[in-house]
């Protein structure tokens, strides 16, 4: 076999191997190049985004999820004229102690993204709403700052902005006179879909605790659904029947 033939043969085999590796059928690729929905497609009830937080993995003195959320969404440092109890808390660390057994738990508390959110029920303008894919948000364009939702939320997950702000994060526009809360990093979810990792979860992974699992509750094959199926979980104040999208394990 001449050198030329060998070269052609090698090139052909290389290309064939590359093609086989990338696709198993026309249009079906093993290597997923695009993530999430296309930018121009609306969200749908096909997905319901949620999270599982394993309190056994959550370290008592660790605050990485809170810091990461502040960084990502630009809260926590710019409300210089507000009292500490007025300042925003999209996510906070809570330490609990069981009175009877003395067992202690540490967990992050954030908007629970309820299926039937009481905040949206009481909102007089429709600013509090649940997106088709289950993420509960505040449309600040129509929020009048009445704070009914803050009263209605059993998780105390919402904050009100008391002062004029500047240089907000592009991920989370926020301003005086409106209510806000965790958005489940909706900008990341819209970009990455089921591969999205909210800022809190990302920070937790980087710390090596990996207490968060984000995913689609509607997809039985998602890592979240599989983990929930295998290990079970608890929803906080499940007695209220709100069906939160945030599940906890180990409490």
């Amino acid at each position: 076999m001449s050198k030329d033939v060998n070269a052609t043969r090698r090139k052909f085999l290389g290309q064939a191997a590359a093609l086989t590796g990338l696709s198993v059928a026309p249009g079906v690729f093993l290597v997923d190049l695009a993530h999430g929905k296309p930018a121009d497609e609306p969200v749908s009830a096909k997905n319901r985004w949620g999270m599982l937080i394993d309190t056994n993995k959550c370290a008592k003195d660790c605050n990485a999820c809170v810091t990461a959320c502040q960084q990502e969404n630009g809260w926590g440092s710019n409300e210089v004229n507000s009292r500490p109890d007025q300042q925003a808390q999209w996510i906070r660390k809570v330490n609990l102690k069981h009175k009877a057994t003395g067992a202690t738990y540490s967990l992050p508390m954030l908007c629970q993204h309820c299926e039937t959110p009481p905040c949206a029920d009481v909102c007089p303008t429709g600013a509090s709403f649940r997106r088709a894919d289950g993420i509960v948000l505040v449309d600040k364009h129509i929020c009048i700052g009445c704070r009914y939702c803050m009263m209605a939320c059993p998780y105390k997950a919402r904050s009100f902005i008391h002062e004029v702000l500047q240089d907000q994060s592009v991920n989370a526009p926020r301003g005086k006179g409106t209510v806000e809360s965790c958005t489940l990093c909706v900008h990341r979810v819209d970009r990455d879909g089921e591969n999205a990792v909210p800022a809190c979860a990302e920070a937790c992974n980087e710390e090596g605790h990996a207490a968060f699992v984000f995913g689609d509750l509607n997809d039985p094959d998602s890592r979240l659904s599989q983990t929930l199926k295998k290990f079970g979980s608890r929803q906080i104040r499940a007695d209220l029947g709100l069906n939160p999208g945030i599940h906890y394990k180990g409490i």
Binding site: D40, P42, V43, K140, H141, V170, P173, D190
Partner: protein, 162 residues
Amino acid sequence: MKSLYYNNKRIATLLVAVLLSFALPAMADTPVPVVPKGKGVKCVEPTDVMRKRHFEFILHQRDATMHEGIRTPQHSLAQCLNCHVPKAEAGQERVRYGSDEHFCSSCHNYAGVTIDCFECHNDGPTGQPLELTGAEGRPTPLAQPLDLVDEAVRVATREEEE
């Protein structure tokens, strides 16, 4: 009598001339807003369309993004600012909304139109400008037709581009 008539006519002509001499330069001196030029070759829509309808684009995008998660860059407010507000020079404060040098307020101050976008939104660039070379059409297709923008303008715009 006749001379008086002519005199009156002459006075009237003189009066008109004097008035015009005041009015004409005044018309030429009508202050117009000085709008800073944006980056890039062209905007996401033709200039005349943007002048008339930018608020409709932004309003539409606002609701689409907020409620449906549609995050196309074409009519995103953040993208407006990425092109139209310059980044802060080293050691200097960036131009802020409210200043006549800020792209949005240069015209809004002139027209006396108060907007509240920047009570929540960052009033400066937060990312890289969209790259439009000028030869291509729309950078991204619209998710759905804009109800507020009449089809006639859109068709005319398309024909112009062709």
